[in-house]
Each structure stands twice: as C-alpha cells, then as structure tokens.
Symmetry: C2
Subunit: 346 residues, 2 copies
C-alpha cells in the first residue's frame, strides 16, 4: 500500500492546495446548506426543523488496521459510523465535516483513495460535505468527522423513552462485523508468517463486508416512517447488543427480558464463529460495530411491523426493579452484562 514511488508528496501542494484539490468537485445537495467549504465556517438554514449533531474520531492502530483495510473502505466506514448516530435519533443525516491528520507516508494518491470512499458514502446517503480541517500528523492517520442531521421535533427518538411492556426490536443481524474482524486478523497473522500464502477469505464476503463496509440503517428510519411507527426509544449498535440494551434501559429507568433464541445471527456469522470456537450469541451481544438500530415500540404497533423480515423482536421492556435479563435457549435466566469494548484497555 505504501509503495510511494511515482506518487505525489502532499508537501508540494500545501494545506490550501490539498484542500482545494480534494473539495473542488463537491456539489451541495441540501437546501439547508447555504454555504459549504471555503469560508471560516459553513452556513446552514434548518428553518422549522431541529438540528442533530454527533461526532466520532477514528485513530490508526486503535480503530483500524491498514494491513487489511483498504483506504476507500476506511473512508466509507468513517462516514457510515457517524451517519448511524443520526439514524439512531430517528432523523436524517444532511451534512458532515471531515478533519484529517496525515503522516508523511500518505501521498496525494492515498488520500484520494480515502476521499473516494468518503465521497461515495456521502453520495449514496445524500449528505453534503461542508467543511473540515487537514493537517499533518506525527504518526499515522487521524480521522475526525462531525455529522449534522435534521428532523421534525415529533420524530426525534431519544434513548430514554422506553416504557414497560414495549417490544425490544433490532434491525438486520448481529455479530457479523466482529466475526469478520477475527477472520481478517487471522489472515493477517498467516500473511505475516508467510507472505506467499494468499488470504483465505473465499465465501466469507458477507461478514468481511460487515466489518469493512458497514451501512447506516437510514432505510429502517424510512421504513418506520412509512409504517407510521414512532419508536419509543432508539440507539445504534456500535459496542455490542448487551451494552446498547443496558444504555436504553438505564436511561429509560427500566428493565428488560431478552431472548437468546430471538437474537438475529446470520448463518455465515454462526458457522464462522464456531470455526473460531466462539459462541455466536456472545459475538452478537459483545462484538460491536454492527451499526444496526436497536429500538423499542409500543405493543399496539406490533401488527404494523411483524411481517418485516429486516426487524426482529428480541424481547420486551419491564420495570426497572426486574433488572435486565437474558433468557438462554435452554431457558436459564442470566443477568445481562456488557462486555463491550473498553477504548482504554491496554
């Protein structure tokens, strides 16, 4: 990846040259974007909508490993993980700012690769790039993205609105991104031991893509709108299902019953977890990076959603004193615990 022969050193362009180069083709799409890149600040006009803001920082060696992450995928994923936070408010992402710290190993061509993924994600999700910052870094790549979104006040869904008796729902399937990561880590080790051996990822496209190319579930936000279902609470699954359920219940001051057999796990995730001697349920509960939406709905809305194959009902909300419980496939009751990622684990 870093064979830089014949490539362009970014020092030659300078900061303003690089920014001009990277932003020259931006076309603004949103009516709410009055002025994008090119002044001290962007100018936005939301009129009668509410504004949502979220931010995420991705650091080389912590959040991504360039040994198996193509730069285009990295740019795409960096946008998606931010959009996911806006979707988790039952809202629509509209603008992003993109800040990059770049070490000298990054040529212009490498940054263009990264940006091609950023642009692709913004294009597909109809999001305007309105600003950012670009600077050098002593070591490795730093990506910091802030996303803005808009929603009508009545649609915004917080984490704290779950009520007793509400159904606990999750979109898509879980654990795939984590099992995909195990596979990529294994093939990296094999490669480091013997660079002549080609990575064995055949037939594993789905879980590799879950790890390298996640998609924010704006389609679920649209689905709920179309079905006229207003969720009572919502969060995105970035740190594993268990951690997110505990956030929802804590902020809503409620408990829950979660049924192991109802947790959606793709067959490829299941089989590959088994190959690694991992429990597929644990991968779903604690794996993280699935970027699905976890939400609660009133029981009265059950009929509207029951036929949708992309939403699973995995449990229900109880009073706080009942605690958060996992009912295993064998019928045992366990206290639900978060074993999600500790960003400061050494």
């Amino acid at each position: 990846m870093f064979d830089n022969a014949g490539k362009t050193d970014i020092e030659k362009l300078g900061e303003f040259g690089l920014i001009d180069h990277l932003t020259q083709n931006i076309q603004l799409k949103h009516k709410s974007t009055v002025k994008g890149v090119g002044d001290d600040a962007a100018v936005l006009n939301y009129a009668d909508k509410k504004v949502l803001v979220s931010t995420d920082m991705l650091l080389e060696g912590i959040h991504f490993d360039l040994a198996y992450t193509p730069l285009k995928h990295l740019g795409y994923k960096a946008i998606q993980v931010n959009l996911s936070d806006i979707c988790a408010m039952n809202a629509r992402p509209t603008q992003v700012t993109v800040s990059l710290g770049l070490s000298s190993k990054y040529t212009l061509e490498a940054i263009e690769e990264l940006y091609s993924g950023i642009y692709l994600a913004c294009e597909q999700y109809n999001v305007d790039i309105i600003g950012g910052d670009t600077t050098s870094s002593k070591q490795g790549l730093v990506i910091s993205i802030t996303v803005l979104g808009e929603a009508d006040e009545a649609d915004i869904t917080y984490r704290n609105g779950a009520q007793e008796g509400d159904l606990l729902c999750v979109s898509g399937d879980l654990g795939g991104a984590y099992v995909g990561l195990q596979l990529l880590e294994r093939e990296k080790l094999v490669y480091l031991e013997n660079p002549k051996i080609q990575p064995d990822l055949e037939g594993k496209d789905y879980i590799i893509e879950r790890q390298l190319k996640p998609e924010a579930r704006h389609d679920i936000v649209q689905l709920l709108k179309d079905l006229k279902v207003k969720p009572t609470s919502m969060i995105d699954v970035s740190d594993g299902l268990a951690s997110e359920i505990l956030h929802l219940c804590k902020q809503s001051n409620k408990g829950c019953q979660l049924y192991e057999e109802k947790i959606p796990v793709d067959p490829m995730t299941y089989d590959t977890a088994r190959e690694f001697n991992l429990d597929p349920t644990v991968c779903a509960l604690s794996g993280g990076e699935d970027y699905e939406l976890l939400f609660t709905i009133k029981q009265a809305d059950y009929d509207k959603i029951k036929h949708d194959v992309d939403v699973s009902i995995i449990g229900y909300i109880t009073e706080a004193s009942a605690g958060c419980q996992l009912i295993s496939k064998g019928g045992q009751v366990h206290e639900l615990k978060a074993q999600g990622w500790n960003a400061f684990k050494k």
Copy 2:
C-alpha cells in the same frame, strides 16, 4: 508533568465512566440547545437563525508542545481557535463538540486539567458543550473540536464581499503569538541543555499569553453590532496577516494596498522580535496564531469606527488588476506574499 505516581489510570474508568466523569457538571445555557451530551446525537433548535459550523484539529507535536504548554491553557486555546472561526463570520458561537484521543501517559488528573481549560473558555464565552468522543490514542494527544454558532442572515459576513474603496481593518495587534513562541522555544532549548536553569520569561507576560492563551474576538463582533457597522468581508488571522489578506482579496476578486506603518504591533512584540533578529513586520505578516479579526468596511462607516483604539485601519481595497501591494515604511512598493505556515512542511 507526567509524574503519574498516585494518579488515576483512565483504563479503570473505561470510556463511559470517563465521559460521565468529565461531563457530569455541564450546565446548558443556550435556548437553542434542546439536548446535549448523553444520547446518540445532540438536538438543537435554531428557529429563524442561520447555523454556522466550523472544525479544527490539534495534534501533539504538530500544533502544541507540552514541554511549555500547560494542559489547562491547551484546553482553553483549543476552544478559542474554534470560536474565532465563528466570530470571523460576524456570528455568535453557541455550542461545541469536543473529541479527544488520549495515550496511556494521560492520567485522569491530566485530562481534568485539560478539561478545566475547555470549561473555562466555554464558560467565559457562554458556549454549551453538547457532545464529543473520547478514545485511546497510540501516539500522543489528539484534540478535535467542532463549533456551532448562530446569526441572523443579514449579519453573516463572508470572505468574498470586499468592494473597491473599502477600508481594510484589523483588531488588536499582530505578531505577538509568533514572537511569544520563539521565546518559549528558546527557553525550552536552554532547559534541555541545563535543567537547573529556570526559564527567563520575566516581563514577557503579554506575548507569552498571546501564544498560550489567545482570545477569540467576540467583543469586536459585538462592537461592530453596537456601532451599526456591517463589515463587507471578514476572516480571522490564524496563518498570518499576509495569508489572510490574500484569501480575502482572492475570494472577493479584488486587490489591496497595505501600509506597513499602519500594521499594529505591540511594543513588547517589537522589542522581542528585535532581540531575536527578526523583523517585527515579518512577524505580523507571516507569524500566525494571533486570532485577531481582519475585515473590510465601507468608507461611509469610517466615522463610526475611527475613534476605536482596538481597530486599526491598515489599507484599502483596489481593483483586482492592481494586485495586492505592501507599501513599506520607506515608501517602496512590494507584492504581498503569504509565507504562512505549511501544515505539511517536513
């Protein structure tokens, strides 16, 4: 600074514990902040105001040197440099998100120091902290801040509105932050050669403060409002006066005449520059980090502003074909060139 004996390792708190600890005392002040920290995204309501957004990334070893930058000052400055971008739109900063990447050398106590400066700046400038991200970093400290502001549409001032005959104005004085940096760098070298020698910064408070504790000029935004002067263009001086004038003229498609004798330089900046065998005018033109406001006004507004000691009129706008010219104290005419900072210079 990094004697960590008896201090608290942040691994013990984990990401959520650290965020809770750092954000527990936040009090929201703005009507436009509907929901701050604690959900997937903050929720804002600007009603009939326009929204301004800007972002800046600061990296250890590139933008700051902890050998002479107290963490509290660093936190304060990180907020100020962002607020300055909103002031430069003739607008009022209202909210910030703060993302941190922290290496393992940072204890809880160190992060609290950093945050105390962040809070102080937000308190003094009446800005709400509404979110952020906190993660570990392989190398050093990463600070990424996004600032939001609001303004009535009629007040927003872009870089591209300068007209022929407009007066070129700058607030405060220039070059001090750069000369202060030279002083700090010199004392660092002395200290590294002989740790027993105490730094000799006596009587240099003003320029040290210009470097370590800059203030965004929201007071100038208020002054212009009070005087009923709407600038025709505006930018903040972060990369040196020359670079910023060239930005204004390029985006406005105009030229200018800049008078060296009119450029405001504090006596301490002047004398210290001379000690370092530096030309004080070059420090003002190319030094950067002054965070003053550079703006243009109509000649008709001259009488309103002429008695204000904190605003200097340093030249005027010409047609583009006349170019950007610096008239030296001796009366010679030079083409104005930017020798501002190249973020990618190795």
